[in-house]
């Protein structure tokens, strides 16, 4: 029982990371029809930006973490907005070229991370000369039904829940949210109502960049390191979450992220034991995707581009 609880909460923690990445991807794709491969760079750069802060600032563990997270978030948002303005906007109405450009950016930015910080993982947070790097309550465990759960898992889950609630409220109650929801359905009709829908493109890229960077920072806490391949490896699972959850749907992304995180953790533990193979969790997720597509291909096809 205690193992199941541990796996469940760890799976939810992982699902929280996937959700943060997938929600931005899903909004960008839903609104603009752009599959953003550069999203992985937002994750990685966000994580490294936060790591960089922890190496350059001396403060209490809490203050440092909050500062690092805020910096990573802003860095991701700015990077997202810049990429939209400089690279995506000039190719408006050329969706294939937009995807290709994000592929080029993903390769180039990924290589840049290697070039700047090297291939080896960095300890996160990095507090030279300090005994503890994370706030001590985060390293402590809480016992639930006999399972000792590291507290940082709860932080990841809580952040994702807050983001989910915030995004949902934002989409429902603000004018930009209204435009985004309408734009996901029918972009050209939104412009035919006299609304400059392109302004929301920069906005969703900035939000997507910020959330991906947040996921990058949280992944640094989850794995205790940041590494240059982090963005790519998380991005692939986020892609799967977006396909399962449906493009443009925040709620769908949340459900799918939880499903993927849990399947991965359960399979990793139970099947890995049984098969004596550590890749079971990841491969199980691929099977989950294939299964969903076989059962409901029509429900998962992207909306018709217009």
């Amino acid at each position: 029982m205690s193992t199941l609880v541990l796996l469940t909460i760890t799976g939810l923690g992982l699902g929280a990371l996937y959700f943060l990445i997938a929600s931005g991807l899903s909004l960008i794709y839903g609104l603009m029809g752009v599959l953003n491969f550069a999203h992985g760079a937002f994750i990685t750069f966000g994580a490294y930006a936060a790591w960089w802060i922890t190496t350059h600032v001396e403060a209490s563990a809490e203050a440092e973490l909050i500062l690092a997270t805020a910096f990573g978030l802003v860095f991701g948002a700015v990077l997202g907005a810049l990429i939209e303005l400089v690279f995506i906007r000039p190719l408006y109405r050329r969706p294939i070229e937009q995807v290709l450009v994000t592929v080029g950016l993903a390769l180039a930015l990924g290589a840049l991370v290697f070039g700047i910080w090297g291939a080896d993982p960095k300890l996160f947070p990095d507090r030279p000369g300090e005994e503890i790097s994370l706030p001590s309550w985060m390293i402590d465990t809480t016992t639930i039904l006999g399972a000792r759960i590291p507290n940082d898992r709860f932080v990841e889950i809580a952040v994702a829940v807050v983001v989910l609630a915030g995004l949902t409220a934002f989409l429902r109650f603000t004018r930009i949210g209204l435009i985004i929801r309408a734009g996901v359905e029918n972009r050209s009709m939104v412009t035919a109502l006299g609304i400059d829908v392109r302004k929301t493109f920069t906005f969703v890229f900035a939000v997507g960049g910020a959330l991906a960077a947040l996921a990058g920072v949280l992944s640094g806490i989850y794995f205790s390191t940041v590494d240059p391949g982090r963005g790519t490896s998380l991005l692939i699972f986020a892609f799967i979450v977006v396909v399962i959850g449906g493009f443009g749907s925040i709620g769908g992304s949340a459900v799918a992220a939880v499903a993927v995180g849990l399947v991965q953790q359960y399979a990793n533990y139970y099947a890995a034991d049984w098969l004596d193979w550590s890749g079971a969790g990841d491969v199980a997720v691929m099977f989950l995707l294939a299964g969903v597509l076989l059962l409901r291909p029509e429900g998962l096809a992207p909306k018709v581009a217009h």
Binding site: Y29, L35, F37, F87, P90, L91, I96, E97, V99, L100, V101, V103, G104, L105, A106, L107, A108, L109, G110, A111, L112, F114, G115, I116, T232, I236, F239, I240, V242, V243, F247, L275, W277, S278, G279, D282, V283, V285, M286, L289, A290, L293, L294, P297, L300, A301, P302, A305
Partner: protein
């Protein structure tokens, strides 16, 4: 069909490529040693392999309009399966290759049948997921078969002598040339066939294909299986040239195939060949350049980007998409129209 006059250039080029291992010519900048040196021949062989693999990818992307992010899986199949068969199971080479031939049809048939149930971006993501499963399998080394990060040290005993050893690089080169030519001929025949016409119709407007009463699905599956099968043999040549390395299973590897095709020009007969060849050559030269002292002595702002070939190639790719969407193969036509326009302007003034 090619008219005799248009065939002259490709035939001459092919003749040159065939006799190339006998030419002791130094081409500075492009190659590190004379053309007949093993190092240069190995690089040229690799360029030819990727010319073929890029063309196989273009059958999917450029001709049928299928954006797959999982092509690396089938290339990796050609690397790993024969290596495991001859090394771990101690099969003979013919038996290993027969197995590869069967699996290189069966696997894309099954995975393609599933992935092609969805279209567009969802298809891209499903192929990516399957390829990623392949990557996970290779990395996690189930049953000690794949060797994880280390790869596999190939058992050379079952291999014929002429593919082993540095002095025999020219045979590998000819093998690679044969592969590129074979892929080209097969692709040309396939594109010219009735199925090839349907592929292009699907690319241009899938709905219209359905309207005239054809089911696009089997045609797309055919393209998928053919392209994967051809890529697998490119993987086998990589095995002989480079060996077993897990990097061929990564998503980044598939993305570089996409870069090659777009670099050369999609949906054109020679574009992908040129793109695959040029990309591989450029990648190699940039790697060498990165190691040079004059780069290492530069300030960080310049040194870091210049010593990452993938950064430069990614940036070049973005520039191509922005400024020359037809890729390298469109350059002659662009140049011609530029010269022509200038001539017209001069005669007008």
């Amino acid at each position: 069909m090619m008219t005799p006059r248009r065939a002259v250039v490709p035939v001459l080029l092919l003749a040159l490529l065939i006799v190339l291992p006998f030419l002791s010519v130094d081409i500075p900048v492009l190659f590190g040693g004379p053309l007949d040196s093993p190092g240069t021949l190995n690089l040229l062989a690799l360029c030819l392999v990727f010319a073929g693999v890029a063309l196989s990818y273009d059958l999917l992307f450029g001709y049928t309009g299928l954006l797959s992010f999982g092509h690396a899986l089938y290339f990796a199949l050609g690397v790993y399966l024969p290596a495991i068969a001859v090394t771990e199971w101690e099969w003979s080479l013919p038996a290993a290759l027969a197995l590869l031939a069967v699996v290189a049809i069966a696997l894309p048939l099954v995975l393609g049948a599933v992935s092609l149930r969805v279209t567009g971006i969802a298809f891209a993501m499903v192929t990516l997921a399957f390829a990623q499963a392949g990557n996970v399998i290779v990395q996690t080394n189930p049953g000690g078969l794949t060797g994880g990060d280390e790869g596999i040290i190939l058992n050379f005993d079952p291999l014929p002598d002429f593919v082993v050893g540095i002095v025999n690089t020219k045979y590998l080169y000819w093998l690679a040339l044969g592969y590129a030519v074979a892929v080209f001929l097969i692709a040309r025949a396939a594109i010219g066939s009735s199925a090839g016409h349907v592929w292009r119709a699907i690319r241009d407007n899938e709905r219209r294909v359905e309207v005239i009463g054809l089911r696009p699905y089997p045609y797309k599956l055919l393209a998928f299986v053919l392209a994967s099968f051809l890529a697998a043999w490119g993987g086998f040549l990589w095995l002989l040239l480079i060996g077993v390395t897990p990097e061929v299973t990564t998503a980044t590897f598939t993305l570089t195939l996409l870069v090659m095709v777009v670099l050369g020009g999609t949906g054109t007969r020679f574009g992908a060949l040129v793109g695959g060849f040029a990309y591989t050559l450029l990648d190699n030269r940039l790697r060498n350049l990165a190691g040079e002292e004059r780069i290492q002595d530069l300030p960080d702002v310049l040194r870091v980007p210049l010593s990452e070939p993938l950064f430069l190639l990614g940036a070049l790719f973005v520039a191509i998409v922005f400024f020359a969407p037809g890729g390298i193969s469109s350059f002659p036509a662009r140049l011609r129209s530029l010269v022509y326009r200038r001539a017209a302007k001069e005669s007008a003034s």
